[in-house]
């Protein structure tokens, strides 16, 4: 029993921040992120005994997190996060000036991320925000590296189309071939 608790604590400490960040970027709300992260680790705690170790713990946890998020989005349509919630998502490592400067841009980026589908958003979070390699992302999502690259390309293309219609970003405008929802 002691071993079980120790094992869980080890996993929890190693992956809590990663999972929290992934969930927070996925839902765009701090309070929801906290609740969902707790739900993810509670499920992991209950299922740890039956975890056979066929996959990496990280992959297993991300799978639980993705399933939890799917259930969450099924229950509740994701709404664009409010300004305050977005602000609270800003990294505390940033300087106060930078926080103020980047606040809007980060908020808009966050909103843009929420317009991606679940797979594309997950790929962007893993690759561009968490800094995982394509191989690691493929391992986590249990798909091929090619699939990751394709999903990432589509996600970036869509993000660009979303962001270039917003004056806050100095992206050179192009003729958007697909209609996007203005932020």
């Amino acid at each position: 029993m002691q071993n079980f608790t120790e094992r869980f604590q080890e996993i929890y400490s190693a992956h809590f921040r990663d999972i929290y960040s992934y969930v927070a970027y996925s839902v765009g709300s701090q309070s929801e992120a906290e609740d969902l992260t707790q739900e993810v680790f509670l499920k992991a705690y209950r299922a740890l005994g039956s975890f056979r170790g066929d996959a990496e713990v990280r992959t297993w946890l991300y799978a639980i997190a993705r399933n939890t998020l799917r259930s969450y989005f099924t229950r509740k349509k994701p709404a664009a996060a409010g300004e305050e919630e977005l602000a609270s998502l800003a990294s505390p490592d940033s300087s106060p000036e930078q926080v103020v400067t980047d606040r809007e841009r980060l908020g808009l980026l966050q909103k843009a991320l929420l317009q991606l589908n679940e797979t594309q958003r997950t790929v962007v979070i893993l690759r561009n925000i968490h800094g995982y390699s394509t191989r690691e992302a493929a391992q986590i999502l249990n798909c091929t590296e090619t699939n990751i690259k394709v999903q990432l390309f589509r996600a970036l293309r869509k993000l660009r189309k979303i962001l270039e219609v917003d004056p806050s970003f100095v992206l050179e405008r192009t003729v958007a071939s697909e209609e996007v929802r203005p932020l």
Binding site: M1, E34, T37, F41, L42, L89, I129
Partner: protein
């Protein structure tokens, strides 16, 4: 601006996003809540069923072989029974040409079915006809020369008449013959189905004795002709 450059711009923007840090104390709070949960029961150790699966596979394979064997065996038995139904004597069915025909074919070709010579059954109902050639002839050659011996044509015609009279089966000197078989000379001797026959010719005919006897004794029948013209002495014995 190329497509790649445009996408690089987005990538740069995304790189300004850092992994989100939870508020201070959140990690401990959540862990404390989870720790209050009862420790889940250890799942039962997975039993290794691979050996059971292996044995089951072997047993299934053997079972399948047995079933296939039984299927073919029963089919063979059925064919034999079918053949036996058409041949009350319960003998193996053979074709006159190839010595082997399927059981189904034998059903429809009752008259053409014959039995091997060594499998002639005991005559239980019918007539036993003995054709005795005149003993006065010094040898068969002389008998043939004067036309007073049983010739292949005579024997073939006799067999045909017997089958036409309703014979179930006919044997000559214990050689089963069918209506399609023909007698022929083999050296100095008559032969049917390649087997030489020596006089006297004992023809056993299975069937209704009354009808067979009427056919044999009918005026103008081949035997009647032989009796009168070739001085062949036929002996007819009724077996009931």
């Amino acid at each position: 601006m190329s497509r790649k450059q445009k996408l690089d711009q987005v990538t740069d923007l995304l790189s300004s996003l850092n992994p989100l840090e939870p508020r201070p104390g959140l990690e401990q709070e959540i862990f404390a809540r989870i720790a209050q949960e009862p420790v889940p029961d250890e799942p039962r150790k997975q039993r290794d069923w691979s050996w059971v699966r292996s044995i089951a596979a072997v047993v299934s394979f053997i079972g399948a072989l047995i079933l296939i064997g039984a299927f073919f065996y029963s089919g063979q038995q059925q064919a034999n029974m079918s053949g036996a139904a058409n041949n009350p004597a319960g003998l193996a069915v053979k074709d006159s040409a190839s010595n082997q025909i399927p059981a189904d074919a034998a059903k429809g070709a009752k008259k053409s079915a014959v039995l091997t010579s060594d499998a002639v059954p005991a005559l239980s109902r019918g007539v036993k006809l003995t054709l005795k050639e005149p003993a006065s002839f010094k040898d068969q050659e002389e008998a043939k020369r004067v036309g007073e011996a049983v010739t292949p044509e005579d024997l073939s015609e006799i067999l045909k008449e017997l089958y036409d009279a309703g014979a179930e089966w006919v044997s000559v000197n214990h050689v089963r013959v069918s209506p399609e078989d023909h007698a022929e000379w083999q050296g100095q001797s008559l032969s049917v189905r390649g087997q030489p026959l020596a006089p006297p010719y004992v023809v056993e005919v299975s069937g209704d004795p009354t009808e067979l006897r009427q056919a044999i004794e009918r005026k103008g029948s081949r035997i009647d002709t032989l009796k009168r013209a070739a001085k062949i002495d036929p002996t007819i014995e009724t077996i009931k």
